[in-house]
């Protein structure tokens, strides 16, 4: 895929070959969130079709990182206060609507959203379309949910809210701890071999 494809009008780009089952939609935020998404995706043991969704501003960089066969580019709205960009409610609503069109086309079996506020439009679109949503709080949140996580928790935007520290699951009763996204036995450090890793 070239950069020109990414900057084209928002559409779902399909790679070669038909999908045999409904894909998982995974929304990747930027910077550290993309590292967590990469760690998450590398942890799937069996082959699952995946569609990556990126915010437009970071699409070229994220596409190089993931090299997904299928991807969706979303508009840059609500990128977070840390980036210093203005937020617009009207643009947010418009982006939700655009995301909903994409969700209707992709028909994902599951939507996974990790940590970032940039994922909200796509998550809301999935929710409106009846797609089960999983929100994974970033592992860097060890003692309290992020603002995005709190929003998801209080408004019950996700069907499953997963935290990566057991203490958080005790603190927020509707959150669950099901492990972490990093596989320390897989990546670079062969200190301990896992014997239960399956193929695929």
């Amino acid at each position: 895929m070239s950069v020109a494809d990414v900057t084209a009008p928002d559409e779902v780009r399909d790679g070669a070959g038909p999908e045999t089952s409904a894909p998982i939609l995974i929304h990747s935020g930027v910077a550290g969130f993309s590292s967590e998404v990469k760690a998450l995706v590398s942890g799937f043991r069996r082959s699952v079709p995946v569609v990556m969704a990126y915010p437009r501003m970071q699409a070229p960089r994220l596409q190089k990182r993931f090299k997904a066969r299928r991807f969706v580019v979303t508009d840059n709205v609500n990128p977070g206060r840390r980036s210093g960009q203005r937020r617009s409610f009207i643009a947010f609503v418009r982006n939700v609507w655009r995301c909903r069109r994409r969700v209707k086309r992709i028909k994902p079996a599951l939507g996974i959203f990790l940590g970032s506020a940039e994922a909200l439009p796509m998550m809301i679109a999935c929710r409106m379309s009846g797609v089960p949503c999983v929100f994974i709080e970033t592992i860097t949140r060890s003692d309290a949910l992020s603002r995005t996580g709190l929003l998801v928790y209080r408004l019950r935007l996700a069907h499953h809210l997963l935290v990566q520290w057991p203490d958080l699951a005790r603190k927020y009763r509707r959150a669950a701890y099901r492990g972490i996204v990093y596989d320390f036995c897989h990546g670079g450090v062969d200190l301990f071999r896992r014997t239960d890793r399956g193929g695929g």
Partner: protein, 144 residues
């Protein structure tokens, strides 16, 4: 190479402290800083703001000096010596609690004060670890 990274925002105090150490010759000749959107530009180090090749810098570094974000885990995952510094200038700062929790597990070297980096250079290692936490992907696969 010593690789210094501030993540997706900025961390002026860290870059200034590293630049000072590099100017004093405490860090060696090969120091590379990722400065993000920061205003301060180092005079004694190579630097860039953003890169598509972040993984390469992490993999080829001998020491990683980083803000207290996801790069800490990336360094641990690659078994790299690291010094983590809390970035108190970031909104909704969660780095100090995160580093405190991590240090209980991995015994990492970290500080709240970038000026302490010079004193921590000889301690920038973490103990060998065994992580038995399940991978979230196992649970997600049951949902599909």
């Amino acid at each position: 190479m010593i690789f210094v990274t501030v993540g997706s925002t900025y961390f002026e105090e860290l870059i200034e402290a590293v630049d000072r150490l590099a100017g004093d010759g405490r860090l060696g000749p090969d120091v590379v800083c990722q400065i993000g959107s920061g205003q301060y530009e180092p005079r004694h180090c190579r630097y860039f703001r953003w890169t598509d090749n972040f993984d390469h810098y992490l993999a080829s570094s001998a020491l990683i000096i980083t803000h207290g974000g996801m790069t800490v885990l990336e360094a641990l995952w690659r078994n790299k010596p690291l010094i983590a510094v809390v970035n108190t200038g970031v909104l909704d700062n969660d780095q100090a609690p995160f580093l405190e929790r991590l240090s209980q597990i991995f015994d990492i070297t970290w500080t709240r004060d970038p000026r302490e980096i010079g004193n921590l250079l000889d301690h920038a290692k973490h103990k060998p670890f065994k992580v038995t936490e399940p991978h979230i992907a196992r649970y997600i696969e049951t949902l599909v």
